[in-house]
Symmetry: D3
Subunit: 252 residues, 6 copies
């Protein structure tokens, strides 16, 4: 089984971090690769970034997609490339926000998401509503950290900030499980768990094991209703990867 972890920003160092986390949890029979787009923003922090990121991510992924059995979109949120890939491909596609919540649900009644800056709070609140999972969500809390702080600040400081936000979610909002709300937090789940004393879910980890399960049971994206294949259309002036995808669907 081959899985592709997609980092939709252009930071190759973040791709490496995520890939290491993914490979750490993958079983021996699962090959995990990763890629990032060649163009676009170095981090994704809003709707605008998402569009730019989605475009070049599609261009990067589609030419190699047939080599993989499933895909992980390693951006915490309701990134538009998830839906686009589900239309373009048959193989299952999983976002790490969705994956972390799916793992959290059986472990407690209500989960909270601990994310980076305040900027992400409304995006994630809307994202949980789109998934229809708001009844189980106790809160979305910001740690006050920027994405880049996760690598730039001393590890101790990062841990303290995440733990503080997690503990507040538990004490004030009634959270029973904490989802770490950023791909860049991979590997920090253990540290937060020791302080918060509740299950702490890392989205990349959750995505790898859930996707492994989906592939093992031959699950495919439904082509009924929302994720129907892309209709053939005349297109002009698009890069090779995207063009291929439009052409490929013409044969369905």
């Amino acid at each position: 089984m081959r899985l592709l972890v997609i980092n939709p920003n252009t930071s190759a160092s973040m791709t490496r971090t995520i890939l290491a986390a993914a490979r750490g949890v993958a079983t021996a029979d699962v090959i995990v690769d990763a890629l990032e787009p060649q163009r676009g923003p170095t981090s994704v922090e809003g709707r605008f970034d998402e569009v730019i990121s989605a475009y070049w991510t599609l261009d990067a992924v589609l030419p190699v997609a047939s080599r993989y059995d499933g895909f992980i979109v390693a951006c915490y949120g309701h990134h538009p490339v998830i839906g686009a890939l589900r239309e373009a491909l048959q193989q299952p596609v999983l976002g790490i926000m969705e994956a972390s919540i799916l793992h959290a649900l059986p472990l407690g009644d209500r989960f909270s998401i601990v994310t980076t800056s305040e900027r992400w709070r409304p995006l994630l609140i809307e994202g949980v509503r789109v998934l229809g999972l708001q009844d189980r969500c106790a809160s979305v809390r910001s740690s006050g950290l920027a994405v880049l702080d996760l690598e730039a600040l001393p590890a101790e400081v990062v841990r303290e900030r995440l733990c503080a936000a997690a503990c507040e979610a538990i004490a004030t909002d009634g959270a029973e499980v904490i989802c770490l709300g950023c791909a860049g937090m991979a590997g920090l789940d253990t540290a937060v768990r020791q302080v918060a004393r509740v299950p702490v879910i890392d989205g990349v980890t959750a995505a790898v094991v859930i996707l492994t399960g989906l592939v093992r049971t031959a699950a495919a994206t439904s082509k009924q209703a929302l994720y129907q294949p892309i209709a053939k259309r005349s297109i002009v002036g698009l890069p090779r990867g995207i063009t291929t995808a439009y052409a490929a669907t013409s044969e369905r």
Copy 2:
């Protein structure tokens, strides 16, 4: 006051149709222009198309954005370019799905959307849920028409199909107001109203008058929480329009 109607697909003839509809309802003091992206699909029919369309639409709109007081995204649905433009700009941005529902709400308790093909139903159901307006939505019904059918089929056939779907929404689902769920239906509202005998809302028309009102009252997009300005980032290899937007935001 200058408004820009944005057709996010590459069909210039559809741009002309929409522009004519928009100008037909605009008052004398409102100048309405329109544009479409130079690259991308000729129609938008799913998540994949939306990403491609959003990318090139941003590239086309941003260089000219400062000339306009408000923007209409003339694609019926929760198109990602709406949120991206709201981040990038201060002026109000209105999608035609949202506009048609805002116009429908004071006219009756529950509205239905009559759209083109079955393919759009789940997209619009999800779109209404994202807007948080599902409690007032009686149903989303397909007319069985493809987008291109709207221009290709005899006008009589198109009218009959739309009227049939509208009447079913009224009789079976309890709809009190009908929203026409496609930019290409501009101008068909009168015909459907005569048969269905309830208010029938065309999204382009609704968007022009609502946006005129927003601009007249100096309304601007909130820069708090969801639509914060784009953060400055190092980007590589993006087209001129998009690059400008990233640079512009650096000065905020």
Copy 3:
């Protein structure tokens, strides 16, 4: 186009204030009149007042209704006269609570209402629920001001109280747009906007521009389902205006 602004309490001075605000935003081709009922309470502050107010408002409005193209009910809340007028008339009828929310929705993800006394909080929370818009409502906050305080206290004090409540809604509840929750706050939106630095919506202003748009597009209240015309009935001992309405409907 002629619009009628209805102040459902008996305070003629408040009618004048509201009318001035309405005329200030109306375009040259829109004639705006206003009236208040001759009997009833001087302010509307609960369900009981609403019934008394609605009764005499109907009696005052119906005899002159045929002269107008649309109606604004200038009481912030789910006032029962709104539904009664929608049944009695074909022309569109807009409440200022509804109008302010419709204007707020495209400007941000979540709005808060800043109202006068604590007494109004539960009424407005219920009102938002009836409109089915609770998913977009961050909070309803009281400024601690009585309706009469708006005119009696020094302007500076009023502004400070409203700004304080607005800022709390933004910081604590995640509000991105503020709706001023009282007809008597007309004209205070600019001052609050300067402090709160988010869009601030005055309901009278919003109602004028939305209603202008509805009338321009020939929108009418749906007579399907909720707002069907009043059935002819034998009635006894009612004032002239109301009696006329019952009689008029007999001809439909």
Copy 4:
């Protein structure tokens, strides 16, 4: 214990029917009276009627209110006089729609309301939403009968129509309990129960026993938040009953 059944329309014959039903279920220690307003429509069939009906009902009830321990508003729906009375009085006030649903909830998971004409469907759907009980409501179904048909048509025909609607609600909508959705259906519950073979609730009956229980346990309307007492105000030209109420509240 003395209870007052309030028929908010001017039909004295309907008052007698309702009173008989109420007395039929009241225990020996409960005195039940009834009244109707002297002015207003002979039946209540919409928002307009509700306002007129509420006004004269308040005027009729308030002068005698101190003689009673509790009140039943015998109009099936979210009649505005319910809220107005709750503000004006300390004693508990119960609408028959609310009462029938409260009785239905412990008897099955989901209830349906079988009402008279199609005209009432949207009113009752909105009413259930205001009560916040929509999750337990399987459907609101019309029997196609006018209110007056209940007395005018042969009893057999009336029964057949109600049973047909009830059986459809059970078979198609999953209803487990049927609420009869009109005060004029008092006494028909037994007949429908025999055919439908599920619990069938008459609102007047339910209201009498629930209100008896509330009074027995010394329950009073909460004066916190929504139903605060009426504030003293200068009023002009209102009938005696209503005037008294405004004056009375000044002493609180």
Copy 5:
């Protein structure tokens, strides 16, 4: 009329307290008995206890069930024995959580539950959601008291703790009515009411009067859908009471 109050834990002293409270509110024509299971935990404080408690409660109740016209399950929460008894019996079955909420709804817009330890909060939040009544629930608040504290601590301390939690629910959460969230709080409603100055509902009291009303109107549990009779099955090794129930249903 004979009612059975079921204390599903094995504490006979708590049964006596509850029975006294129930008899205190029952009218002269209502005979109230009580029982508790012979085996199981002395208090019910979670899902595990509920299963053990439900099993032995069924065994205790079923052999005597035919002597009673209705049943009260005197454990505050969504105890599984409620549903099991509704399947096994025709007579109405009422839980005290449900009863207290049904009594609270007509007295104010939103209620809060004041319970014992933090341990019960998530159980009651889930319970309210299962009942579909979450839109009317302002909050669930813990008093910090253990169930046994209710009897062990000085009455004054208990009162103070409950009043503090109730007042916080009113001031912070907008509660208009307080439901006492534990069977062991029977008799404390008056004391809390004096301090909180809103209606305070004791579940046992509410259950007795509501059940009396249901029985008086010949209400029965719906056998449609959720509470269909138990299907005949071969069973092995179960205690006498439960065995009888399986056998009894075979004759339906």
Copy 6:
């Protein structure tokens, strides 16, 4: 890794079927055992059965629980033993209804459950509501088959009935993914998938792969809030397994 599949009814043959299905999907490093309780009903078809089944299932599972890393409750629905085990144990516990929905969510926007008899429909509708996943549930449909029919009827007939219900869910309710709503349907997913042409999820299969992933990532049930450990209590007359559990918790 050792997983225990718990069949909560007393049918050993059904245990064997389920175990075979579970082992069929488990990877080489996962040991799967199964057991059923020695007492109780041969099938679980309602709230009453659930209580009896839960009791003896706890007694059977608890003595051997420490040997396993995770547990699957192989009864499709919101069985009370799931919550009880989550309190009693640290290891993750997964019901097959929950597991099938978790697997369905990433594969399409809305799922439907195809179950056995009409009897299960309201139970599953309530179960989905308790999980807070109702916004993604298109419908619950009955195949009209009894649980025993799954083994007794010719395989062809069973397949046809399931396929018919699945196709109706897709065509009428908008389902994009089908969840097979009975443990006894294990192995039928492939046949239904071929006809329905959408993803079809078997709950046992889904549970094995999800639980494997949870165990691999060292996930544990949250002991915060809902699933706190069982409090030590004096108990009388309970079977050995249950008694042990009460005692064990005393040491926490």
